[in-house]
Every structure is written in structure tokens, then in C-alpha cells.
């Protein structure tokens, strides 16, 4: 089976937040839910400072702590090692939200519109609400699943497709010939928080 992962080239990423918006559009996430996020960091002091953007998402760990702490078995790994949540089993205890070293999980207790309360929902919002409740659900834990539905339709992950700098590459880590394996090997790919022992599958290439 394939073992899917992602490489994010920090040298290419300039922090435009396109991936954040693309993810929101593709997955209909309500306000406050960011399956794909961009963090900002600064090193040094002015005038000798450098800024860096760090796009983060669920790392689809090989040994996920969120799966280990889940009391119901709602969190599971698919055959190609993507961590998913069975919304029919999740009870919303929020244990996994605290076990995740990357803050990748979100629980919403009620669906909210982006627009002020009291306004009637537009057709798109109705569709968006329905899509969220069907796929992810309310009162349960939700997170990135490497756009499993889009990939079933033959499309790329929304964040990969949207990235204007081509900083993101999605692929099979088990295939030594794939672009992602090549990049990790030759460009000194690293992962976030390796000390947690969760074996994440989202790799980063150093910014310089």
C-alpha cells in the first residue's frame, strides 16, 4: 500500500495563506476551524531579524498519539496510513485535541455562519453546512484527512493545488522514485517535533 505524505518547502513558502483558504473552501470548515494553518515566526532582533512562515496541518503520524488516547476507537488509520475519524463513534471527549503535538484537531459544538447571526443563510451556506455535517459533524473531533474525497475524484489536495509557490508536494513515501522521496533525501527534509515519537509524515525542507 501507498504511504502518503507531504513535503513543504519552507524556502518557497512566503506565507500567503492560500492553502488556508483553499482548505476552508474544499472542506467547508466553519469559523475557527483551520485544518490547514500558517504560523509566523521571527528570529533575531531588528535590523538583523528574519521572518518565516510555517504552514502546518495534520501530520498523519505513523504512530499517532491521538489514535492511542481515543477511548472509543473513533480515530483509525486507513490502509494507506491516513488518520481519520469515524464521526459515528466519536463522543467528543476532546482528549485527542490535547494529545496532538501539532494542534491539528478541532471540535465545533454548533455550526456557525461566517456572517452575522440573525441573517438568513444563503444557498451556498446551506450547502456548506450540510457538507460539513455530513462529512465531519458537530460535537465531534475533526481534522485534515489529506483531502481523501478530492483524491478519490482524481484531484490533488486542495492546499497543494492552491499553493502559488509550489511549496507543497504530495506523494508516496514508500516509492523511492517519487518526487517527495527525492526531495526529502536530497534537500535535508525534517519533521516537526520528532521528540514526540509519533513519526509524522509531513516533511519540511529547510528555509535556507
Amino acid at each position: 500500500m501507498a504511504r502518503y505524505g507531504m513535503v513543504i518547502d519552507l524556502k518557497r513558502c512566503y506565507g500567503c495563506y492560500s492553502c488556508v483558504m483553499a482548505c476552508k473552501l474544499a472542506n467547508h470548515t466553519p469559523p475557527g476551524v483551520f485544518w490547514s494553518r500558517v504560523l509566523r515566526g521571527e528570529m533575531g532582533e531588528y535590523p538583523n531579524s528574519v521572518r518565516q512562515a510555517l504552514p502546518v496541518l495534520c501530520n498523519q503520524c505513523e504512530e499517532p498519539d491521538c489514535l492511542k488516547v481515543c477511548p472509543t476507537g473513533a480515530t483509525y488509520q486507513t490502509e494507506d496510513k491516513i488518520v481519520r475519524i469515524d464521526k459515528n463513534k466519536c463522543i467528543g471527549c476532546k482528549y485527542c485535541m490535547m494529545a496532538c503535538p501539532y494542534g491539528a484537531r478541532y471540535t465545533v459544538h454548533e455550526w456557525k455562519s461566517y456572517f452575522p447571526e440573525g441573517l438568513p443563510l444563503s444557498d451556498y451556506e446551506k450547502y456548506s453546512k450540510q457538507a460539513w455535517e455530513e462529512k465531519s459533524g458537530v460535537g465531534v473531533s475533526t481534522k485534515c484527512d489529506f483531502c481523501i474525497d478530492r483524491r478519490a475524484e482524481g484531484k490533488e489536495c486542495a492546499c497543494v493545488q492552491a499553493c502559488p509557490a509550489k511549496a507543497r508536494v504530495f506523494g508516496d513515501l514508500d516509492d523511492p522514485e517519487s518526487e517527495i522521496s527525492y526531495l526529502i533525501k536530497t534537500k535535508r527534509g525534517f519533521v516537526l517535533r520528532p521528540e514526540m515519537g509519533t513519526e509524522p509524515k509531513v516533511y519540511y525542507l529547510p528555509p535556507r
Binding site: M43, P71, T72, I91, K94, E117
Partner: protein
């Protein structure tokens, strides 16, 4: 490299509701343990103390479980919570508290209420149930520390001291609950005085463990931000006023020098309040550490609770 990790993201998921559960589980387990120990080592004088302790066990934990249910995002499916005890401390804990409640309920029903049952005469059977119940009472108290401690990213909790702290606090608050009810139900003065002394000693231990816990948190770079939040930050008032002053210092003085009656009542109530504050302090102090990458420190893991507070209302026409 960036400077030491100075900030992290405050965990907002488990707050007061879970703190109340942790507190009630501690009180119930601690009171039950105190009751069983009084039954084992006390003579007939200690029967009432023992009965109060055993009686308090089940209802406290049961009320605590109600709080857990309220906190769930999907309480209808709560029965699924013990599906995976192999790896999850929450599943194991659910099994532990259910077994504890069953044994505490049997212990109560056959001994104390609604009428003295078979266990009143048969002491060995009572002790047998007491031992099993006490084991699960101990686990009920301790598993909460392991439950929080399993969360690696929250370095404040990820320490073996947390179960110890919860255990000592549970014993202390359990004895306080027994004293509080014992006063109204007519426990003898000498028993109350001894309970107060034992409780005072427990509180010295609790303070010691708390100091080691916070020192350890401060010396560990990952949890320093948490320690600062607790010691001088937004949670500090709960620690200094709630836990230290109300929960430890005043009850300790009252129990050592205050004598009986009203002083014991005040000491017990303040001490129980302190136990609740301790749980909240530990929960609210929990922060997820900053992510480090390529020499940068990404301190704020942005997860806004209410991203656009200004957009919550319809603008005035």
C-alpha cells in the same frame, strides 16, 4: 537558535467542568479509602467514621461522572467510552470508576443503607469487599493523573508527580469530607481530633508535592511557560489564594490549633474548595509547547476560540 521556549498555546478544552469531575472523583475515592482504613484499624468507636467514608464514595464519583457527560460533545454515544482500554487511559479510567462505583454501592447497600445488611455482622466479608473497593478507589484517584499525563505536548502534565499530587490531595479532601459530615452526624470529639491531625499531616505532604511539582515544571524548559502562568500569570490567584491559603494554610492552622466544632467545619469547607482550585490550577495551567523548526520558534499555535467577535451580531440598521 531562538531563545528558550517562552510561550505556548493554552489548552482551552478541559476547564471547570473537568476540574469539578477530577475534584469529586478525588473526594469520593479519598473518603472511601479513609472509610475502609478506619474500618480496618479503628475499633468500634470508628464505625461511624468508616460508614460515612464508605457512604460518600459512590455518590461523589457518580455526580462527577455527570459533569463528564456534560462536557462531552456527543453525550448520546457516551457508552462507547470503554471500547479501547488497550491504549487509552480514558477508556481504562471509565472501567475503573464503574467498577469502583459498583463495589462502593454493594458495600453501602449491604452495610449501611437502607438498613444494616449482611455485611454488618460478617466482618471478614466486609473487609474483603473493602479491600477490592479500596484498590479501585486508589485507581480512581490516580488514573486521572495518568490520564492528563499521557498528553505529551502538555509538558506540565507529562510528569509522574501528577498522580502523586492528585492522590495526596484526594486523601486530604476525602478526610475533610468525612469530617464535615461527621460533625453533623455526631462523630466523637477524639475521633475528629485524630482525623484533623492526620489531615494536617497529609496537607504538609500535599504542599511538599505541590512545591516539587511546580519546581519541576519551572525547571523543565517545555513547561516553564505553564509554571509561570500558574505562579505569576493569570492562574496565579487560584494557586495562591485558592490552593495555598484557602486549601492548605488556613485549614492546617485551624486543624492544629482551632479545636473542634465550627473550626473543623470551616477547615473542611475551605480545604475542599482548595482541592477544587488545585484541579483547576493544573488544568488551566496546561499549555501546548511551541513548535520549533529550522531555528525558528512558532510560539502561537493559532487556534482562536472566537475568531471574529465583532461579527457575532447584526449591525444596527
Amino acid at each position: 537558535m531562538g531563545s528558550a521556549k517562552l510561550e505556548g498555546q493554552v489548552q482551552m478544552e478541559w476547564r471547570w467542568i473537568i476540574a469539578v469531575y477530577l475534584f469529586l472523583a478525588g473526594v469520593g475515592g479519598g473518603a472511601y479509602l479513609a472509610g475502609v482504613i478506619a474500618d480496618f484499624f479503628g475499633g468500634p468507636d470508628w464505625m461511624l467514621v468508616s460508614k460515612i467514608g464508605v457512604f460518600l464514595g459512590m455518590p461523589c464519583v457518580l455526580i462527577g461522572c455527570m459533569f463528564l457527560l456534560v462536557d462531552l460533545g456527543n453525550p448520546v454515544k457516551a457508552w462507547r467510552v470503554w471500547m479501547k482500554p488497550g491504549t487509552s487511559w480514558m477508556a481504562r479510567g471509565t472501567i475503573i470508576i464503574v467498577v469502583f462505583m459498583i463495589f462502593a454501592a454493594i458495600h453501602t447497600a449491604w452495610w449501611i443503607w437502607p438498613f444494616p445488611g449482611p455485611l454488618a455482622e460478617n466482618e471478614s466479608a466486609r473487609h474483603f469487599i473493602g479491600i477490592i473497593g479500596a484498590v479501585f478507589a486508589f485507581l480512581t484517584v490516580v488514573y486521572t493523573g495518568l490520564l492528563l499525563g499521557y498528553n505529551q505536548p502538555i509538558a506540565l502534565w507529562n510528569t509522574a508527580l501528577l498522580p502523586v499530587l492528585f492522590f495526596v490531595s484526594a486523601i486530604s479532601t476525602g478526610i475533610m469530607a468525612v469530617m464535615f459530615f461527621g460533625l453533623g452526624l455526631g462523630v466523637g470529639e477524639s475521633q475528629l481530633a485524630l482525623l484533623a491531625k492526620i489531615d494536617a499531616i497529609t496537607m504538609v505532604f500535599e504542599l511538599f508535592v505541590l512545591i516539587v511539582f511546580l519546581y519541576n515544571a519551572y525547571r523543565t524548559i517545555e513547561s516553564r511557560f505553564s509554571a509561570k502562568r500558574i505562579l505569576v500569570g493569570p492562574v496565579a490567584s487560584y494557586l495562591w489564594l485558592g490552593v495555598i491559603v484557602c486549601g492548605l494554610v488556613i485549614p492546617f492552622c485551624l486543624e492544629l490549633w482551632g479545636g473542634h466544632g465550627i473550626a473543623v467545619t470551616i477547615a473542611a469547607l475551605l480545604g475542599l474548595f482548595g482541592g477544587l482550585c488545585l484541579r483547576y490550577t493544573v488544568l488551566a495551567g496546561g499549555t501546548i509547547g511551541a513548535i520549533e523548526a529550522a531555528g525558528f520558534e512558532f510560539a502561537r499555535i493559532d487556534r482562536p476560540k472566537d475568531p471574529m467577535p465583532a461579527m457575532g451580531k447584526v449591525p444596527p440598521a
